[in-house]
């Protein structure tokens, strides 16, 4: 640079005086290598009439004839800084050096450990700039990733506020281990990012958030997703499922900037019309029809049966029908038809949510700072569900002197979530309840609660339930507080040696309070379950009053890492980068649970529980404490060698050690490594000639990722407990119910990645293609043991599986004029997963997945119904037959086939994982207007849905969808759905349907699941700064965004949303309209 500046200054002094036509020629070189001629660089004249120009030839040479008015030449080449060369009088030959433009090509990729020049990047990574323009108004970081990155698939299984998004990078690589990617915030791996299984998320009161939910999306600058082993090997065992690196905003050099942003979100109420439920009239007719039929299941349930029982006309109706009933009874039943409780209105609501963020940032040469405060509240469309988040972020970097730079940041947040308690069977879940509650049921009788005695969950008890009472008298509150602080320092020892260190402390804490008042279904149920027999009869041991269960959870971890980096260029063309380092991590988790009974939330008093015996007291622990500590030590190194920015070879290795209890030190480490290469073909002369190619490079990597199961030990490990065997003598015991297994090996995944980057036509089209193959062996799973060993299960290396797939990302600049710009981005991921080996338990009647994907769905093939309305099954030969013939049922409904033969009755129907997933995003800019349209899609999935009704166990006390009206009956011989079965008609089949998990396994209940969602439609307007300056505002933009406004997919009738179709408990993904305001001062 200095040299150019010098020449430049010199040129200014000696101004040309002559004005005549002359010829100039020269060579354009790459300024960094100083030897490399640039082919196709544009050389044009500045000054004079018109512009003359040409492009350099294969030797980088040019020759132009210019008029004397031309004072200088402008030389441009893509990826290099444009340079103006003053023409000197009398000098004909010029040697022009262009410096690479780091803004474009020297772009760095943050991997968490290193910042890698994209030109040396051998790995498969994808970055996402997090801004409202790109991702829209997202509520959390995981939502920002939806449909943005090729090869990263997302499923939002629940639309509840704060519910996590299930993220999979390049399919599933582990079966029993974690399948979640590793999250890294500004270089620090985060703890507590695993999301619970979808089964656990079904209850509304299972309010759960990962530590990701605490990060304010508006603090984020960029998210980088590391996909292949070349990128992740450096993270060791935790990175087997990919890594998501979050980089937060920092202050930029310049005057202080205050940014204020606000979003007001309107979410309209859920519309349960899609559920296609029976109205009061239809429900009463159904109940009447069933009462005159032979279908006897729960014959006393439902309002009609109750009215008949009260008037003593049950038998009269069964024999004589409607006309035999007294007119008073007829009137009472008909009155039901007129009541249509609007469950939508009772359970759901429209909400307006708010979000505010203020940040202050700025900096100078020596220091930069960024601080922000954010508040976000989100009420659920389910009444009674509230959620809010408060964030505080402080960041600063300081250059203490020329060689030492330090930085410190603090991320703090508090989150509160509130809902009411739900039943363990999930039936008091409002979304689920909305499907079951009778349309003729009225919640209130004046001011008094009417109790729903029909909706009773699994057990047929007479506990009173009223959803309004439950909402008023129970609560479930969780308060999360999280603090993350990072301190880093960088010491430049000399021009090529750098030492960096980083210390991060993460502290997460939550308090979960579950309260049920005396007058609540939850409490009544708790009491019923605590009923024991005493000499004077049976009664509950719990005292009168409510209950209060509190869980306090603390998790803290600290990570320290230090790295020595060496980067040096030799002989202008050899780049060598080496890095070695160590990382130490320790985490500690503590949870304390306490339970109080006879609780009064006004006086905060409780009553002691009088346990009749020590053995019963052991069933009701009032206090529990758990504590867990883990430590990890790792060593790692990476190295890369680059020749002329054309060829790069890289490698990395990491040793992870952890505290495996009782295991010798030498077994605690497994080396994970990767090797990779990059060939930037665009730099080759023969490609450089093709002027339309701006970038062409090929990547390849191979690596080993691994995982160990820390729950299985080679030793017999026990846990302490205290028990009483004989009265009055409590003793210490060690419970050792986990089988030791000295043969357990590491789970290993071999990873191959081949990639191509191409950008053409002045970068109008950029194209990235990746193909990967991941082969996981020695996957850890549970195996059934001979029970004579003393244990039933142990963890073994049990399966192997492969994932292969393609990832395509295409970004195009379709139109670009002065005022209008249209860009499109399409990303696609195709993944096929195959289980190569799986040990199937000998007793299993459900098939193993060997040769099928891990998410394989198996079902019984059916061929409609027989004359009596019973399903017909299709056997391997394609013949239709009854269940009795298909399963070879004995008279008790048990199959006389062996387990292996029963496995063979199933057919493979598809997989629950998407074959293709991705996003399609368009952005239009016209003058100050911006329009963004983002779509996401998942294709090629299957989902097993819950059957509309059970042919043997349909409970007439519950509402259901209209499929039941189309059941096969004598009056409806063309009905599509099975008839309601009578136990005496075909007893063996009746038992099979009622007691075995058969009906839901029919192929009828496996649906195609493909969907395309208009995730974000956003219109924004940026005000002209000149209009704002008089108010001291430097920037103002407003936006209107619709999120999830539209979804289309394969048939999802009777369900709210295709994405949550498999889970009747899930709140649907809410539609919302967001007004946004963004101001800079």
């Amino acid at each position: 640079m200095k040299r150019i500046a010098f020449i430049f200054c010199g040129l200014l002094l000696i101004l040309p005086l002559l004005a005549q036509e002359r010829t100039v020629s020269g060579v354009v070189y790459d300024g960094e290598t100083e030897k490399e001629p640039l082919i196709g660089a544009t050389v044009s004249t500045v000054g004079g009439k018109g512009i003359k120009g040409m492009q350099t030839d294969e030797n980088g040479r040019f020759r132009l004839s210019v008029s004397s008015e031309v004072k200088s030449l402008l030389v441009r080449y893509l990826g290099y800084l444009p340079t103006t060369v003053k023409l000197q009088p009398g000098v004909q030959n010029y040697e022009i050096k262009l410096m690479p433009n780091n803004e474009v090509f020297g772009e760095v990729v943050v991997t968490g450990y290193q910042k890698i020049d994209r030109r040396k990047l051998t790995a498969s990574v994808a970055s996402l700039q997090v801004s409202d323009e790109v991702v829209g108004a997202v509520k959390s970081v995981d939502q920002a990733l939806v449909g943005q990155i090729a090869g990263l698939s997302t499923v939002s299984a629940n639309g509840a506020p704060g519910a996590p998004v299930k993220i999979r990078i390049r399919g599933t690589a582990s079966i029993s281990g974690t399948q979640e990617p590793l999250w890294v915030l500004d270089g620090m791996p985060l703890e507590g990012t695993d999301i619970p299984s979808m089964e656990d998320l079904k209850d509304i009161d299972n309010i759960y958030q990962t530590s990701i939910a605490g990060i304010n999306p508006s603090d984020i600058e960029n998210i980088t997703v590391l996909k292949d082993a070349a990128a992740t090997a450096i993270y060791g065992a935790r990175a087997a499922n990919g890594v998501i690196v979050i980089t937060t905003k920092k202050g930029k050099e310049g005057r202080p900037i205050v940014n204020f942003s606000s979003k007001i979100t309107l979410t309209p109420t859920t519309d349960i019309k899609r559920l296609n439920l029976l109205n009061a009239n239809e429900k009463v007719d159904l109940e009447l029809a069933l009462l005159s039929s032979d279908y006897k299941y729960r014959a006393n349930k439902g309002a009609v049966a109750r009215i008949l029982a009260e008037s003593g006309e049950t038998a009269t109706y069964a024999t004589g029908g409607w006309t035999a009933l007294s007119s008073a009874t007829q009137a009472r039943i008909d009155a039901l038809r007129g009541i249509n409780t609007d469950w939508n209105d009772v359970l759901f609501r429209s909400v307006i949510n708010q979000e505010y963020n203020v940040s202050l940032s700025g900096g100078s040469e020596r220091a930069s700072y960024y601080s922000s405060v954010g508040y976000h509240n989100q009420s659920g469309t389910v009444k009674g569900v509230e959620n809010n988040r408060f964030n505080l972020t402080l960041k600063g970097t300081y250059s203490l002197n020329k060689i030492l730079k330090v930085g410190a940041s603090v991320f703090a947040n508090q989150r509160e979530q509130e809902s009411f308690l739900a039943d363990m069977n999930g039936f008091t879940n409002p979304v689920y309840y909305s499907r079951l509650a009778n349309p003729y049921f009225q919640l209130l009788n004046g001011n008094a609660y009417n109790y729903d005695t029909n909706v009773q969950g699994k057990e047929d008890s007479s506990l009173d339930f009223n959803i309004l009472e439950e909402r008023n008298n129970t609560s479930n509150r969780r308060t999360d507080r999280a603090l993350m602080s990072i301190f880093d320092a960088e010491l430049k020892l000399n021009d090529f040696l750098k030492l960096t260190t980083q210390m991060g402390v993460q502290y997460d804490q939550y308090t979960l309070k579950k309260y049920a008042g005396h007058d609540s279904y939850a409490m009544r149920k708790e009491k019923l379950f605590a009923t024991f027999s005493f000499p004077d009869g049976k009664r509950s041991i719990l005292p009168d009053g409510g209950m209060h269960k509190v869980t306090e959870y603390h998790n803290k971890q600290w990570t320290w890492k230090a790295m020595l980096e060496f980067a040096r260029r030799f002989n202008q063309i050899h780049d060598l980068e080496l890095m070695g380092g160590t990382e130490v991590r320790r985490s500690e988790t503590e949870a304390i649970f306490s339970a109080a009974y006879g609780y009064d939330n006004r006086t905060l008093t409780t009553q002691p529980v009088l346990f009749p015996s020590e053995n019963i007291a052991e069933l009701y622990p009032l206090y529990k404490e758990t504590h867990q500590e883990n430590a990890f030590v790792s060593w790692f190194a990476t190295g890369s060698y680059t020749l002329s920015y054309r060829y790069t070879l890289g490698g990395s290795i990491r040793f992870d050690g952890s505290d495996v209890f009782g295991v010798a030190k030498k077994y605690r480490y497994l080396p994970l490594y990767s090797v990779s290469a990059l060939w930037r073909a665009a730099q080759e002369l023969f490609v450089k000639r093709l002027k339309w190619i701006n970038d062409l490079s090929f990547r390849a990597s191979y690596g080993l990722q691994g995982n160990i199961d820390k729950n299985t030990s080679p030793y017999l490990i026990g846990t302490f407990d205290r028990v009483t065997i004989l009265p009055g003598t409590p003793e210490k015991v060690i419970e050792a119910e986990n089988a030791p297994n000295p043969d357990l090996r590491w789970e290993k995944t071999k990873n191959i990645n081949l990639g191509l980057n191409l950008s053409v036509l002045d970068n109008a089209i950029t194209f990235t293609l990746d193909h990967y193959y991941r082969r996981s062996t020695d996957l850890i799973g549970m195996r059934m043991l001979p029970l004579e060993t003393g244990f039933s299960m142990t963890t073994i290396n049990w399966a192997s599986m492969e994932n292969r797939g393609w990832e395509i990302a295409i970004a195009t600049r379709n139109v670009k004029t002065k005022h209008f710009k249209w860009t499109t981005q399409l990303n696609l991921g195709f993944n096929t997963n195959k289980v190569l080996k799986e040990t199937v338990a000998e007793n299993s009647t459900y098939p193993g997945r060997e040769g099928y994907p891990i998410g394989a769905v198996f079902a019984y093939k059916t061929a409609g119904l027989d004359a009596q309305g019973y399903p017909l099954f299709v056997n391997a030969e394609g013949n239709a037959m009854t269940a009795t013939e298909f399963f070879k049922l004995n008279r008790h409904g048990a199959s006389t086939l062996t387990a292996e033969q029963q496995r063979a009755l199933y057919s493979y129907v598809g997989t629950t994982d998407p074959k293709c997933s991705g996003g399609f995003n368009n952005s239009f800019e016209y003058k100050n207007w911006q329009l963004h349209v983002n779509f996401m899609f998942n294709l090629g999935m299957k989902v097993r849905v819950v059957p509309s009704y059970s042919p043997t166990n349909y409970d007439r006390g519950l509402n259901t969808n209209r499929d039941i009206l189309n059941r096969r009956t004598p009056a409806n011989p063309a009905g599509l759905f099975p008839s309601l079965m009578v136990s005496t008609d075909r007893p063996a089949e009746y038992i099979r349907y009622s007691e075995y998990n058969l009906y839901s396994m029919l192929d009828t209940w496996v649906r195609d699941n493909n969907y395309l969602r208009l995730q974000s439609l956003r219109l924004a307007y940026k005000f002209e700064p000149s209009l704002l300056s008089k108010w001291g505002i430097s920037g103002l933009s407003v936006s209107l965004e619709g999120r999830n406004l539209w979804v289309t997919g394969s048939d999802y009738h009777n369900y709210l949303d295709p994405e949550t179709m498999g889970n009747p408990f899930a709140q649907p993904i809410p539609k919302s309209v967001i007004f946004g305001l963004n101001m800079n001062f």
Binding site: N630, L716, V733, M784, E788, G790, E842
Partner: protein, 450 residues
């Protein structure tokens, strides 16, 4: 300047790295790999605590209990009815199983202690020896229970060629066990008792700890095993050895006597199994068959049962850990009497039987009963001794096993209009292996072994 920084950093790095080796040595809170004597004891205590209560469940198989619509609730019906009605072929899916895995877990821990006895620290040689002795007793008692639940009685088969149960002598999860012959199982049980005898050094444990095995318990188990093998002479000798140490009986003629199966009773030798847990106790009511066995003047009828109506009585025994009882003195009076009677040793039989009668019947009834007994022949006497055994040890987990080893009579039960029958020497006197065990180890039923 630079050198100074490098030095500081180098010192820091070296300092931190050298601390790393210990850094990974975390002992998880609440978790333990047993090392000390106290910890090995805690391992065994867990097995005592979780010892299966199948002898209580077996009362449903015998004629002791009646299930009826009035006293059996729906949940218990689902769980136990098919056991009670001997519906072994197609039990409903909700039927509970007799234990299997839990027994073998007890054996695993016993084997673990036996294998690792040399590694136990912080314990005296006597403590270790006692612990190892108890482990052998555990192994012997569990194998004995299993072979009596799941294999043909020793006295009704050719033990050498009849399939028994797998004998587990190693703490190793990677084996594929196969069944041994009944003979082999008993041989191992006897060998374990003998080894236990050599290791045990506590004669009897104080109240509160008397669930543990002791030297008297070793004799007691030996007597019970020999009785089940039909080795009368040895059984009599073993029972007499127990009585030498422990002969006092609760006298029901005195107002202050506790139930003999109470853990504080003078008769208690091992107070391990609750037998009639609070669940089993509530399944049904004592059967007419068992109640009709009691003669007039038998104090036990009111001690063991509470009459609710003229036709219904409730059981007083059991229902909590106070009534834990696996071995108690009265059993050995009866064992000695039975063995003697079988050998034609009338006087010895009377000598063992009469003290029990004196403590259980009122004076007049006792005198009358004794006179009747003196007039009986061997066969009649045996019938009476077995009846007395049924009366004394009712609902303590003996009846089913006694029926099995003796005459295997026909049994009848009624529930509503349905009757259920077990024919004489019915195959159902022996339980099938639990299906989950066969599923997990299909080779279990292989017999004879090749």
């Amino acid at each position: 300047m630079n050198t100074k920084y490098i030095m500081i950093v180098a010192i820091l790095v070296i300092g931190l790295l050298s601390g790393c080796d210990d850094f990974l040595d975390i002992t998880p809170t609440g978790k333990v790999i047993a090392k000390t004597g106290e910890e090995y004891r805690a391992l065994l205590t867990y097995e005592y605590k979780n010892f299966p209560e199948d002898r209580g469940l077996a009362t449903l198989r015998s004629d002791e209990m009646t299930l009826d619509k009035a006293s059996t609730n729906a949940e218990d019906y689902d769980s136990f009815f098919d056991i009670w009605s001997w519906n072994d072929d197609a039990p409903s899916a909700t039927t509970v199983s007799f234990g299997w895995r839990r027994y073998y877990h007890v054996i695993y821990i016993a084997n673990y202690i036996i294998t690792h006895q040399a590694d136990i620290t912080q314990a005296t040689a006597a403590e270790i020896s006692q612990l190892v002795g108890e482990a052998h007793m555990m192994r012997a008692y569990v194998h004995f229970l299993l072979v009596n639940l799941y294999a043909t009685p020793y006295t009704h088969c050719d033990p050498g060629t009849t399939r028994g149960i797998p004998v587990q002598l190693k703490a190793d999860i990677n084996q594929l066990p196969r069944s041994s012959s009944v003979e082999k199982v008993y041989e191992q049980v006897l060998a374990d008792i003998e080894t236990a005898r050599a290791h045990l050094n506590v004669k009897l444990w104080p109240k509160g700890y008397n669930y543990r095995f002791s030297t008297v318990a070793a004799d007691a188990l030996l007597a019970r095993v020999l009785l089940h093998m039909g080795r009368w002479d040895a059984a009599q000798a073993a029972a007499e050895a127990v009585l030498k140490e422990r002969s006092t009986l609760e006298n029901m003629n005195l107002g202050n006597s506790v139930l003999p199966c109470h853990y504080t009773s003078v008769e208690s030798i091992v107070a391990l199994e609750q037998v009639m847990t609070h669940v089993y106790k509530n399944i049904g009511i004592p059967s007419k068959e068992i109640l009709s066995l009691y003669r007039s003047g038998d104090m036990r009828k009111n001690k063991y049962y509470r009459q609710v109506t003229s036709s219904r009585s409730e059981l007083r025994k059991g229902g909590s850990n106070e009534y834990s009882c696996s071995f108690r003195t009265a059993e050995f009076y009866l064992t000695a009497a039975e063995a003697a009677a079988r050998l034609g040793r009338f006087e010895a039989a009377f000598n063992h039987l009469f003290p029990l009668i004196d403590h259980r019947y009122n004076t007049t009834a006792a005198a009358q009963y004794k006179t009747e007994l003196r007039g009986m022949n061997q066969e009649q006497l045996l019938v009476e001794i077995l009846a007395e055994r049924a009366r004394e040890l009712a609902f303590e987990g003996f009846r089913w096993f006694d029926l099995r080893r003796t005459s295997q009579p026909s049994l009848r039960k009624t529930y509503g209009e349905n009757t259920y029958q077990l024919s004489p020497a019915d195959a159902r006197y022996t339980l099938r292996f639990p299906s989950e065990a066969v599923e997990a180890n299909p080779g279990l039923e292989l017999w004879p072994l090749k």
